[in-house]
């Protein structure tokens, strides 16, 4: 039980009632620890019981007749519980000296050992360490698959409407280079307000960024069950980054206040890219365009339709014109490149289902050596994937991850999944498809770490190679 002794200090003569400097210091430092820096907070705690002793016999709640006229509050007189006392000058000077010492210690520590930045900075990163073994050809080995460091923060923060400007700079390496190269490097501006969850959001993003085509290539790593993306994502260049400008937002948000849940009926994204890929200057005068729209079920949190979404994506651009592997003279940026696809998902923990179907059309030269004499043709490719997963654990429940606890607890979660992945590089050619069936198991055991097991059966009809692949991967971040 907390006991606050009475004290009132008016002059040095009141020594009998004077709270010792030490007690006062303890109170002040205690108040500092809980974000209270003034002496009044500690002092007036005792004043209240005198006004209103807490007991069965205390006065009943204020009646309407004694209440201040409603709506005509006087700020100077409202909070009568803020009564204070006085301390001597010597005691106050002593407390000030101790606070100054603490401040100096803190400043020294900040200067010597705490990292600094000009603007707000959030540092994060992730690494994938993998062991993989395959049957045909037989090979196995450990692999550090990727390492990414990401720096994010606000350049300008708008507290009134949330029309803030933020930045993202990512540096990453992969197995092909093992050199750090920029991954994300963009500015984001919230054109519309972003604080009221009941209203639409609208953002613009400028710089090198991930394309936003479909589901497979855009799902964040923590929500992607399989280690590898579906074949079409890499074969059609959907998972790469590009340099350009993207406008995206949503419309008609549905808010379920019982859960702090927000889902917009429509999400959209429109982008203009160089089309030359990441860390590369534009190789032609044309720009690629990309559009995506998602219709979400406008359902409350407890609705069985929550998590149901239907998406459509379109990408049109230019690429270099090749005959086989030979670039046609003056063929830079002269070949058409079109992608379109649709996706359906129902992700409502503990159950998840995703399906995506994508068509690619790439213009190539059948014959000729220059742009003038090239005979062109379009190759149509096709890919689709279906994934089913189920979870035991609370990893994907937002509020379960956020608990008042003493320990470094994290909801241990198990997630088995199965995925079928089909890729046909040329629909005009028979028996050239590649199919991969993956059985997997993900184990989430710490806030930023998961362990993944994937067993894949692949059948490449073009090369007549059937292969079994096993991969075990730790993905960890900070």
């Amino acid at each position: 039980m907390i006991v606050f002794k009475k004290f009132k200090i008016n002059s040095p003569k009141d020594k009998g009632n004077i709270m010792s400097k030490r007690k006062l210091t303890i109170l002040v430092l205690g108040a500092l620890l809980i974000g209270q820096t003034n002496l009044q907070a500690a002092e007036s705690a005792e004043a209240v019981p005198q006004e209103q002793p807490v007991s069965d016999k205390q006065p009943q709640q204020a009646s309407d007749s004694t209440a201040v006229p409603f709506g005509s509050e006087d700020l100077s007189a409202t909070d009568t519980s803020e009564a204070g006392g006085t301390v001597t000058q010597a005691e106050l000077d002593g407390v000030r000296a101790e606070i100054a010492t603490l401040r100096d210690q803190l400043t020294q520590r900040l200067d010597k050992t705490i990292a600094n930045s000009k603007r707000s900075l959030n540092i994060s990163g992730s690494t994938q360490t993998r062991y993989a073994a395959s049957s045909s050809p037989s090979k196995n080995g450990f692999l550090f698959n990727s390492a990414i460091i990401s720096l994010k923060g606000y350049l300008k923060r708008d507290y009134v409407e949330g029309k803030s400007i933020s930045y993202t700079l990512g540096l990453g390496s992969n197995t092909s280079t093992y050199n750090l190269q920029p991954t994300d490097a963009y500015l984001q501006y919230s054109i519309g307000q972003s604080l009221d969850i009941g209203k639409p959001y609208l953002y613009v993003q400028i710089g090198q960024q991930k394309k936003q085509f479909g589901l497979e290539a855009t799902t964040t790593e923590d929500k992607q069950p399989a280690i590898n993306l579906a074949q079409f994502a890499s074969k059609l260049g959907l998972s790469t980054r590009d340099i350009g400008i993207r406008l995206y937002g949503d419309l008609f948000p549905v808010v379920d206040l019982g859960y702090n849940y927000r889902i917009p009926l429509i999400e959209y994204s429109l982008a203009l890219y160089n089309g030359s890929g990441p860390n590369t200057a534009d190789t032609n005068l044309d720009k690629d365009i990309e559009g995506r729209i998602v219709i979400n079920a406008p359902a409350g949190y407890y609705s069985p339709y929550r998590g149901l979404a239907l998406g459509g994506s379109y990408y049109k651009g230019k690429q270099d014109l090749y005959k086989g592997t030979t670039l046609i003279t003056k063929g830079e940026g002269e070949g058409d490149k079109i992608r379109y696809g649709t996706d359906l998902s129902y992700v409502s923990a503990p159950f998840g289902f995703t399906a995506e179907y994508v068509i690619g059309k790439d213009e190539k030269a059948l014959s000729g050596t220059t742009l003038a004499n090239a005979v062109r043709a379009t190759t149509e490719s096709k890919g689709y994937t279906v994934t089913l997963f189920y979870e035991w654990g609370e990893q994907f429940y937002k509020n379960s991850r956020s608990q008042s606890r003493n320990d470094d607890w994290w909801p241990t979660t198990f997630q088995p999944f199965i995925r079928y992945d089909h890729w046909d590089p040329d629909t005009a050619v028979a028996n050239n498809e590649s199919n991969i069936t993956t059985l997997g198991f993900n184990f989430f055991f710490a806030e930023t770490t998961k362990f993944q097991l994937n067993y894949s059966l692949s059948d490449d009809k073009a090369t007549h190679v059937k292969q079994n692949t096993f991969a075990a991967q730790f993905q960890f971040g900070f």
């Binding site: 003034n38 705690a45 507290y159 949190y301």
Partner: protein
């Protein structure tokens, strides 16, 4: 024949008792609650005392039933998500949380209030905002956590001065963020519970609080249970409630008020503000009265109606849909508390 008829109630009682004893028992009872400012896994008040004393653990130890407690930082909305996901069986929250949850079809029922006193609401303003009265809130940036009792009470206060939520610029902020936003002049005012360190520091002024206008205090909080648990384990549900009621009996004693305040301080409250919050408050016996009375039901129906009128919920429903009154009266009678909280 007469003797046989007289024996009927006894037979019925034996039968009911037999059924109760035959009830399947859960292996674990999962109880949700709100987190606190210090992010510690503990509650305050009556439930905090029950937890400290380990009363639920003692009650169910002989049956081998484990007690699991989860404290959600997102408070009521966090517990609603947990109920929807089948993660907890019991919980406790403010008045609006269950009203909104039930409107969305959440299968739970209130089996007791968590004290009839309700909670005070405070409106703190930035002195530079020019806000001198509640009517001045029009067009201003106001921070508060939507979906909580603060949201509902604030709507009622606005309503009383002829304003609606659409006429202010509401910013959805949890209490800690709202305090920070007020300190940095990012909002003009915040709606909060009793803690107001910014007023102490001279950064903010207290514009309004319900100590002077108790008609705008929040309604009684709730103790709820999932329908599935209550229907499958009615005897266990009654025993859980019976144990919690011991906490409300303890909290209703004047001599325990300092201990209750101390437990609130241990959860991050400020002693001075908790004390000051009691100015004009009902006596403890009334404040911690957990019984579901006709007035409580009427209060909740008004909340449902008002929330619907203000668009906070999309479905208006009868309060009977929200309450399950099977458990409280027998539990009170077993404890001998049935005449303790007397109502006119």
């Amino acid at each position: 024949m007469k003797k046989w008829i007289k024996a009927l109630p006894i037979v019925a009682l034996l039968f009911v008792t037999g059924v109760a004893h035959a009830e399947e028992k859960p292996k674990v009872i999962r109880i949700g609650g709100g987190g606190n400012a210090l992010n510690l896994p503990q509650a305050s008040g009556a439930i905090g005392w029950v937890n400290e004393q380990g009363l639920l653990e003692k009650e169910f130890a002989k049956d081998g039933i484990k007690i699991e407690r989860t404290y959600y930082k997102a408070m009521g909305p966090g517990q609603n998500e947990a109920i929807a996901s089948g993660l907890i069986d019991f919980g406790s929250a403010g008045d609006l949380v269950t009203v909104v949850g039930r409107a969305g079809g959440l299968p739970y029922k209130i089996i007791s209030t968590s004290g009839a006193g309700g909670s005070n609401i405070y409106i703190q303003v930035n002195p530079a905002s020019g806000i001198k009265s509640l009517k001045d809130l029009k067009g201003k940036r106001i921070g508060y956590q939507k979906g909580t009792y603060l949201h509902l009470a604030f709507n009622r206060i606005l309503d009383a001065v002829g304003l609606t939520e659409k006429e202010i610029r509401g910013v959805n902020l949890v209490n800690a963020d709202a305090q920070a936003a007020l300190a940095t002049n990012s909002v003009d005012a915040i709606v909060s519970s009793s803690d107001r360190p910014l007023v102490d520091q001279g950064v903010a002024k207290l514009l309004f609080d319900t100590r002077k206008y108790p008609q705008f205090k929040s309604g009684p909080g709730s103790i709820f249970v999932t329908e599935a648990f209550a229907n499958k384990y009615p005897e266990t549900t009654r025993r859980v409630l019976k144990t919690l009621l011991k906490g409300y009996y303890w909290a209703s004693k004047p001599e325990n008020q300092e201990a209750i305040i101390a437990s609130s301080v241990k959860n991050g409250g400020t002693y001075k503000h908790i004390k000051a919050d009691l100015i004009g408050a009902l006596p403890p016996k009334e404040r911690y009265d957990p019984t579901v009375t006709t007035k409580v039901l009427k209060d909740y129906q008004e909340i449902i109606d008002f929330a619907f009128k203000r668009g906070i919920i999309r479905r208006r429903y009868n309060v009977s849909e929200l309450f399950d009154l099977r458990f409280q009266a027998p539990a009170l009678k077993e404890l001998g508390y049935d005449k303790y909280w007397v109502h006119n």
